[in-house]
Amino acid sequence: MTLSNIVVLVKYVPDATGDRKFEADNTVDRVGVDGLLSELDEYAVEQALQIKEKRADEEITVTALTVGPAEAETAVRKALQMGADKAVHVSDEAIAGSDAVATSLVLAKAIEKIGVPELIVGGLASTDGGLSVVPAMLSERLGLPQVTLAAVVETQGDQVRIKRDGDTATEVIGGTLPLVLSVTDQSGEARYPSFKGIMAAKKKPLETLSLSDIGVDAGQVGLDAAWTSVESVTARPPRTAGEIVKDEDGSGATALVEFLASKKFI
């Protein structure tokens, strides 16, 4: 099998260095805060681009796909600047408040609409939700094999091999295209967009799709259709300021031992 299409899944997330908040309905505030392409999805874009570059004779098209509010266009734009060829943005009021189950449905339907590629690449986790389940759910929905959480990726012909740190072992996992792949931040530094890349991105195709375009009923997604409900959100009380001592000639060690003993750790 030749590889002609790669779809890379990129999510628009609130900036983790800013003040992340919740809305009154207990959903993540995605609009009132600064957002960006999830840092962890940059690694997915990077791997997609590296595979394309290594297989230069195959004319591979890399499409960045995002599901999110209007602002999520920023995420696919960044992917285009890094070097993706095309972008697809699924955006619909009805999607707001969707859980991972619904997000995976929208992604699956969007992928079926644009054509199921030989390779789908996702990130380790969303930096906001952080479930690490969407790639597995997508593979379940599309009936494709999944090779996830890769620290090292190699492809040859229709074979994909990854290396990863499993829960109890270091593993090499093999699969045959078409499949769903996800990569970690161990897989290789993500490139910065070059000036040329930023200019070129302006002319690259960016398609926006609504739920009806991809054949998803509005009732299947969004907060009301979620199969889980958030009952309450509580900000963690700020930690009470601790005691800080300066070590002078061993005084630090003595004080620390006293502290540990007072808390019954020794």
Binding site: R161, G174, R236, V245
Partner: protein, 320 residues
């Protein structure tokens, strides 16, 4: 009372501690039924182990045909047992593998999924979960509103409770589709045991960062004196001083021990994301401006290579 399925987390038949924690949670909801997917020759011992922690029933599924095929077959097994048992909930360890199984199962059963629960309580007819989100800055209570609640539970969410259940063993013959037998483990190198507690399960974690300069002797010495697991920052991992499996943080392990001791770690947001919910936090850092000091219950401004060995020596002396 309804059954509550608990997926047994084990390495080659040796049941891991999170399984016992899940059984303790299952008892709050209904009758715990453990699901053991593994080697037929290991099943009896595993069944005894989970029985001792309250399993009323043990579904045994021989994995001869599916070993190495990762998560898809396990999701099919759980789907089939759930169809037969109509459980009140399905509890799965929130490991990377467990969460993927849970995700696939949620779609198969058209059921809501909650991952990374740090607590699960029963409130009337509701099963209410607690999660810690945004690097531990918020606590979220949630519940499943459709189907069979599928909950991926983090280590240390409950204390294991000894006390034998009936432990009735039921061999379950699952039918696995060919589609589930695709991606496959082609080679695996089991992790060498460090002789220390598992990072995510440990009551105490002692970590080292770039400030160790690559010499973890002082960090490991303190860890051993305290019976702790050893962790590392990403800077220490990227420098090749410790394998990635030691990394604490957003892209490593998320730990929530009784005591976390950060040594030579500045306290970047990605590191905090992995340790901020620890009950007690201690830091040793040369730089009094290091952001880690904003989190600590106790901090020492000093050189870890001087402070830690002195602390270790004093602890050893007190132990006698």
């Amino acid at each position: 009372m309804s059954e509550v399925l608990v997926l047994v987390d084990h390495v080659d038949g040796a049941v891991r501690k999170p399984t016992y924690e899940l059984l303790a949670i299952a008892k709050r909801i209904g009758e715990p039924s453990a699901v053991f997917i593994g080697g037929a020759d290991k099943a009896a011992a595993a069944a005894d182990a989970v029985k001792a922690y309250g399993a009323e029933k043990v579904y045994v599924v021989d994995d001869a045909e599916i070993k190495g095929y990762l998560v898809a077959p396990k999701a099919e097994v759980l789907q089939q047992i759930a169809a037969a048992a109509s459980p009140a909930a399905i509890l799965i360890p929130a490991s990377a593998e467990g969460k993927e199984i849970a995700g696939r199962l949620a779609i198969k059963l058209e059921s809501g999924l909650i991952t990374d629960a740090v607590d699960v309580q029963v409130n009337g007819s509701d099963i209410v979960t607690t999660q810690s989100v945004f690097a531990g800055n918020f606590t979220v209570e949630a519940k499943v509103t459709q189907g069979t609640p599928i909950i991926a539970v983090k280590p240390n969410a409950a204390a294991p409770e000894e006390g034998a259940g009936a432990g009735a063993v039921e061999e379950f013959a699952a039918t696995i589709s060919d589609a589930a037998k695709t991606a496959q483990i082609v080679a695996a190198q089991p992790r060498q045991s460090t002789g220390r507690p598992e990072l995510t399960e440990a009551a105490i974690v002692v970590s080292g960062g770039r400030g160790t300069g690559g010499d973890f002797t002082a960090v490991e010495g303190l860890a051993d004196a305290l019976g702790a697991a050893v962790g590392a920052s990403r800077a220490a991992v990227d420098s090749g001083w410790k394998p990635h499996t030691f990394q604490v943080g957003q892209t490593g392990k998320v730990v929530s021990p009784q005591l976390y001791v950060a040594n030579g770690i500045s306290g970047a947001i990605q590191h905090r994301a992995g340790m901020q919910t620890s009950k007690t936090i201690v830091a040793v850092n040369k730089d009094e401006e290091a952001p880690i000091f904003e989190l600590v219950d106790f901090g020492v401004v000093g050189d870890l290579h001087a402070v830690l060995p002195a602390v270790t020596a004093e602890i050893e002396k007190r132990k006698g």
